[in-house]
């Protein structure tokens, strides 16, 4: 098998799916680091974003790319709403209680998707898209856009975290919430901003997953394990780590089909997760260990 085939059949699809995992993993790593719990409804929130996108695409007849900003805003509102209604009052209780609540939210969100949009697979656009040929490397436009959009969103997020006042407040709360509170950081506002960002990223992950594959009620849930594997691989709390982790998990999953039956793609993420917890729980970029 030549290098081109490896690139075309394994590396490119791996990077595409890895970019989608990266978008989700960044959100997971932010929740883990700032709010300090594993958010198990993350995948299903992405599913909701994807289907909200489908709603806009079918109702207004616009392209999914145009729907992306609106879907990110809508899902951000839903995420903030979920936090206000369900997670907020658990803040004083042990964090694991919120993990449990988020498992319930995962089922509830998925149930809503199943009631509203049914259980059959759907797509944004019909027809087969032929990949473009770039010096022998075959990439579809939507795949290129997925990767570029992921990079753009992450760069914007990094700028926000490094430069803006609220970004700094988020990082302060991630380092030490009590100290941040004492220094005048409004924890409640930071929580809200975190959920806005996380909800938006979730929606983007879901929309690009739906764009490159298909929309299913279980699409987000099956993404949960790779997203967590990516967040832990990169180091909890490290945004750039989550991106690297997502890309590695995506490529590793595609490569695994060289040695393993395709059914076991999901096992790759699990193996990476356990391996990291075993040998280097801080992740590649020295994140937190809760």
């Amino acid at each position: 098998m030549g290098a081109l085939e490896i690139i075309n059949f394994y590396l490119v699809p791996g990077l595409v799916v890895g970019s989608i995992y990266a978008l989700g993993a960044v959100g997971i790593t932010l929740v883990f680091a700032i709010l300090r719990y594993a958010h198990l409804a993350h995948g299903d929130l992405a599913t909701l974003g994807a289907f909200l996108g489908l709603g806009l695409v079918t109702a207004l007849g616009i392209s999914p790319y145009l729907a992306l900003p609106a879907v990110m805003v809508l899902t951000a509102v839903v995420a903030v709403g979920i936090d206000r209604v369900f997670y907020d009052y658990l803040r004083e209780r042990p964090k694991i209680v919120t993990v449990m609540a988020s498992l319930g939210i995962a089922l509830m969100v998925r149930a809503i998707v199943q009631v509203v949009w049914g259980v059959d697979s759907q797509t944004y656009t019909r027809g087969i898209v032929r990949p473009e040929n770039w010096f022998g490397i075959r990439v579809r436009d939507r795949e290129l856009i997925t990767i570029l959009a992921m990079i753009a969103l992450v760069v914007a997020l990094q700028l926000f975290l490094q430069r803006s006042k609220w970004g700094k407040a988020m990082r302060a709360m991630s380092d030490n919430p009590d100290l941040a509170l004492l220094s005048g950081v409004d924890n409640g506002k930071v929580v809200t901003i975190t959920w806005v960002i996380v909800g938006g990223l979730c929606a983007a992950a879901g929309l690009f997953l739906g764009l490159n594959f298909e929309l299913k009620a279980m699409m987000g849930w099956s993404m949960l394990l790779p997203m967590f594997a990516a967040a832990i691989l990169g180091g909890v709390g490290r945004v750039e780590g989550a991106v690297i982790g997502g890309l590695i998990v995506g490529v590793a999953e595609e490569m695994s089909t060289l040695f393993l039956p395709t059914e076991y793609k999901a096992a790759t993420a699990f193996a990476i997760l356990l391996l990291m917890l075993l040998v280097r729980p801080t992740g590649l970029l020295r994140g937190k260990v809760l």
Partner: protein, 318 residues
């Protein structure tokens, strides 16, 4: 003849309640007494079900076994197999906060589901394993159901008494100390990860046993027999509603939730087909909402954990 059907249904429900009660007691050891978040209950359940099925079913072509062993060998085998799966997961994850265990158990349940669905030689994949013997299954229908109910009730009673005894022992006190203040327990010289591993394995073995009892009750097991997320979540809501940290609460929660769950299924099955499918998901939504409400308004559950306060030693005259 109406009442015979009703009685049969009641026996059927009671058997399911006993099986779920075993899962709930297993989860209570993990969550209620030790604070471990196991989100892969269905995985351990399935491992138990399939292990016992392979061990006890008659020999079949194209898959491992069956070995035609007596049912009790299958049940012990189910517990051992579930414990063997739990061991490496717990070994790796219990050094960290319970969040990591939650993710890893979701993963292990997913892998188990994939293996069951795709490994022909082991589980006969989609067709599943049939002809699993049921103890006293040769009796007429009603007698056989009643006999099986007696068996699962006896097992549940033994398990309940053993867990109660274990929890009342110094070991149980130590586990609650670890749950409530890990640092203090560690300072007292307790090996926290090791003790958590004990509880995780013990609870998982009970879940395996529950799976085995389920497989023998149905006389067959297929990958579609249980919806992993719904089954796991039902056990969680049963325990939280009943009262985590209280074994009687754990069993009461099972009875309450299972009756609500089954009755709502009967109701929604009356709907026309197109609504019935949606109603199924509405039920899942409501069970999720129920968890949120219990967590918010009655986090201690119907039967709260005994506070553990004791009379001062001097005043009781001991």
């Amino acid at each position: 003849m109406e009442w015979i059907g009703f009685a049969n249904y009641a026996v059927y429900m009671a058997i399911f309640i006993c099986i779920y009660a075993l899962l709930s007691l297993g989860l209570n050891i993990q969550w209620g007494f030790t604070g471990l978040f196991n989100a892969g209950i269905a995985g351990f359940f399935a491992v138990g079900a399939y292990t016992s099925a392979v061990l006890t079913s008659p020999a079949a072509d194209g898959r491992l076994g069956g070995f035609d062993l007596p049912f009790w060998v299958g049940w012990i085998g189910a517990m051992v197999a579930a414990a063997l799966i739990a061991w490496p997961i717990g070994k790796i994850c219990l050094r960290f906060r319970s969040d990591y265990l939650a993710i890893a158990t979701i993963g292990v349940a997913e892998i188990i589901r994939l293996v069951i669905k795709s490994e022909d030689w082991l589980t006969n994949s989609a067709r599943g394993i049939t002809d699993i013997p049921r103890p006293l299954g040769d009796l007429p229908y009603t007698m056989s159901q009643l006999a099986y109910l007696a068996i699962v009730m006896a097992i549940l009673l033994v398990v309940y008494l053993m867990v109660e005894r274990q929890i009342a022992s110094p070991w149980g006190r130590m586990m609650r100390a670890i749950r409530d203040n890990e640092d203090a327990a560690r300072a007292m010289g307790k090996d926290v990860p090791y003790r958590r591993l004990e509880a995780f394995i013990f609870g998982s073995a009970l879940m395996g046993l529950g799976g085995a009892l389920f497989a023998h009750f149905n006389r067959s097991i297929t990958p579609e027999a249980i919806d992993p997320m719904v089954a796991t979540f039902l056990v969680w809501i049963m325990l939280i509603l009943g009262g985590s940290g209280n074994n009687r609460g754990a069993i009461l929660g099972v009875a309450v939730v299972w009756v609500i769950w089954s009755v709502s299924e009967i109701v929604t099955d009356q709907f026309p087909h197109e609504y019935a499918v949606k109603a199924k998901y509405l039920r899942i939504f409501l069970i999720g909402l129920m968890l949120q409400l219990v967590l918010r308004f009655r986090p201690e559950g119907l039967l709260p954990e005994a506070s553990g306060e004791r009379k001062p030693v001097g005043k009781t005259g001991n």
